[in-house]
């Protein structure tokens, strides 16, 4: 087969498999944060920025996978 096909397949697989873990992690973080806000609504101002920061850190593995797949495609 054409090498370009494998290149595109590799890029798709890289981001597709790589996104699974951080998607689960981010969902877990959002769920826990909402649970905490539901339990103590006054603390939502403190919880929301922390939630975004931890989400951004959990997202980073997916971003690594995305960088790899972009390098495969355009590098």
């Amino acid at each position: 087969m054409d090498p370009v096909v494998f290149q595109q397949l590799a890029a798709g697989l890289a981001i597709g498999i790589g996104a699974v873990g951080s998607a689960i992690g981010e969902g877990y973080i959002a769920g826990k944060a909402l649970e905490a806000i539901g339990r103590n609504p006054e603390a939502s101002d403190k919880i929301t920025p922390l939630m975004f920061v931890t989400m951004a850190i959990a997202e980073s593995t997916a971003i690594y996978a995305l960088v790899i797949s972009l390098i495969i495609l355009f590098g």
Partner: protein
């Protein structure tokens, strides 16, 4: 669509390539220096409207830094670096949403090239910022623990386990470079690519949602980069026992 990982070269001056992200960086630096220089000139005891905003930003940033690092003297030393990172990255990310800047392009030998490009989508720029963080952290750790004390964290022969942990610590120090730089670069570059793809697929309405997502990630990534710098500095400023 023409998507390239490397920034586009506008012109060469004595063999030194001038890229579009370089032009953008110089422009943003001038904006920042000019703005704060003018603020400094008109600084008064009774703050005006603009001065109140700046004071709120700087004061809030300082109290946040102090709450993370837990010590007033340390916070005074770490604050300028962390706040500069935050303001510079935030401005660089937000200026990419300025309407019309993507439309200005100039003709070069390699075809027409856009004059501006998101600064943080140039891996060289992000890598330089990351190296500033990493080198600062190493220098602080060496000053706090002394050269031999710091070396003892990585190489010790007390037991096989502590030797392996020391080797792992060396890997962790190098992994910091990759994780810190890829996070910022990947988010901004992926945001640009996503915006391009969405404009290509559906030119109306739909890209707006992704623009909103882009603004959110622009602010959060600036915050995350500077907070991680702060956390690394506060870790390094504590003595190894």
């Amino acid at each position: 669509m023409d998507i390239s990982l490397a920034p586009n070269i506008l012109t060469n001056i004595y063999g030194f390539p001038i890229t579009n992200t370089f032009v953008w960086t110089i422009f943003l630096s001038l904006v920042l220096v000019g703005f704060f220089g003018v603020m400094r000139l008109f600084w008064s005891v009774v703050p005006g409207r603009a001065q109140s905003v700046v004071e709120l930003l700087i004061g809030g940033g300082f109290s946040f830094v102090e709450s993370v690092i837990g010590d007033y003297e340390k916070a005074k030393k770490a604050f300028p670096l962390v706040m500069t990172f935050f303001i510079f990255i935030l401005l660089a990310n937000l200026f990419t949403f300025m309407p019309g800047q993507g439309a200005i392009s100039i003709k070069t030998e390699g075809g027409s090239v856009s004059l501006f490009r998101a600064v943080m989508s140039d891996y060289g720029m992000v890598f330089a910022l990351t190296m500033i963080t990493v080198i600062t952290v190493q220098v602080i750790a060496i000053i706090v623990n002394g050269p031999l004390g710091y070396l003892g964290k990585f190489i010790n022969f007390k037991s096989p386990l502590s030797f392996i942990l020391g080797v792992m610590d060396i890997i962790v120090e190098f992994a910091k470079i990759l994780s810190l730089s890829f996070r910022l670069f990947g988010n901004i570059f992926a945001g640009e690519v996503l915006g391009g793809v969405m404009l290509f697929l559906m030119p109306f309405v739909v890209p707006t949602a992704f623009l909103f997502l882009g603004v959110l990630s622009a602010v959060i990534q600036a915050f995350v980069f500077s907070v991680l710098t702060l956390v690394f500095i506060s870790q390094a400023s504590e003595k190894i026992n």
